[in-house]
Symmetry: C2
Subunit: 309 residues, 2 copies
Amino acid sequence: MNEFDLIKRYFHRDHHGPSVIVGNGDDGAVFQTPDGRQTVVSVDALVAGRHVPSLCPPEGFAARLLGRGLSDLAAMGADPRYFLLSLTLPNFDAAWVDQFSEKLHQLAVQWGVDLIGGDTSKGPLAAHVTVIGEIDAGRALGRSGALAGDQLWLVGRDLGGARAYLEVLEDRADEHAAWAERYWRPEPLLDAGRALVGCAHAVIDISDGLCQDLDHLLSAAAAPLRISLDSATLPLAPGLMDQFDEHQALEFALTGGDDYCLLAAIPVGVAAPHGAVCLGQFEAADDTLILLDDQPLPEDWVLGWDHSR
Amino acid sequence: MNEFDLIKRYFHRDHHGPSVIVGNGDDGAVFQTPDGRQTVVSVDALVAGRHVPSLCPPEGFAARLLGRGLSDLAAMGADPRYFLLSLTLPNFDAAWVDQFSEKLHQLAVQWGVDLIGGDTSKGPLAAHVTVIGEIDAGRALGRSGALAGDQLWLVGRDLGGARAYLEVLEDRADEHAAWAERYWRPEPLLDAGRALVGCAHAVIDISDGLCQDLDHLLSAAAAPLRISLDSATLPLAPGLMDQFDEHQALEFALTGGDDYCLLAAIPVGVAAPHGAVCLGQFEAADDTLILLDDQPLPEDWVLGWDHSR
């Protein structure tokens, strides 16, 4: 099956929203952004053997790819609209591509995005997704903007489950369905992101680990900030404390990537989204600093889960 | 060097056009499209060992990556505005990344695009570029729309040079600077693409080989069309007829990919862009058909240069 047959069979869909002027199948796609709105765009790579295990289930690969991409739009407060897919496959495995594309199309409908373009070629298993959203002009959430006095809120289910899944992947994965789900089926917090527009000073999604992404948020602020996290307030993934000692469980929660929760800096007195947990309060400081229970963090925690390691 | 240091050092640029509301370095980039304009977007992969030789020069890799991506915008008649880069590197080679990023930024300035986002991770050498342009609402050129009676025009320098370069790559590449330039330094025909807006019925760029891309143009037409190409009119890359026999030279010109010329269906009497060459005239037919000098093409020529082979 050549590239064009593959695209036509598995990736073309004729139903597009009315804002899509030219869809999949031309040199480029064309879309119309309504007056008063701005376009938000982000790109993410998912490389087998690096971001996910080499032998990875097609449905999980699709769900992590798109969920992860859309999490970036959630962190901007944007309404998701479209995506483009650049896929490299080592060989043509019809069953794999069929399950991958079916899951991708199913989630695209669920999350409200149209696949409007892409590229496929032979190569090591990897997918690169470009996600495109829309937001009212001037309303996009950014990483910068956190102020001393703001509270740090965690929006999303819980922490450390995706990282814990990698730990048990080799032999006990079946016993840990919740962790597997966190890893293979991240839910982009699109509604929560929209709810943060006009209420949060700064937002980031946790893709590389809470400490590392919090460090990005702190580093992007106009003036140096410090914060002390209270370990007792951290919502841990189910079973984390049963299966690992406390230090390990906290390390997974604070440094394990792929949680796709949102971190938001919100002024005191402004309501955070329903279910959000307050992790602490930013204070003015001489240097950017994250403490845990008023103690310095282990040195490498702020490095998070570096995908290039 | 971790992912964030690498991005900051080699890929961040602070100067953005005024339409960029949020640039590189946040969860997503935000841009503003003027009223009355539409957005054009396309994604392309460049995989070492597949689209380009495994050992490829960083400047050539950058030039082919961006030139190829922008050629899609040229084929739509769009004004290029932004691009995003998702890059996987097998290891961190400072000299390679430095030369790659320098060439990329230099060409971005030359071609008028801002790098507004991206992703980097460890993996086999590959780059995926998302290019974003703008065009007046409803004016984008498409592949469909060719009509019986339209003339087929070739816009661009010449054909077959990039394919010929691959043939001599192993031992005589130095003698063939023109072919090397066609291969490593494709020029996106942005001005020509804009000139075709409102004048061409259909346009496509030649990335997979003239016959294959012409076949896409014919297949996208509302009614079946045939065309006979006149081999004497084909502008061949310099030296092609000297180094190869006529059949081979024509095969390279008609099936070799990566020429990035444009094919345009233009009504008789409408002026084609300066320097364009008329290759023939579309006729109504029972089935889509391409002839060469009124003879059927060799069977595999229409398959072109399949990157997934």
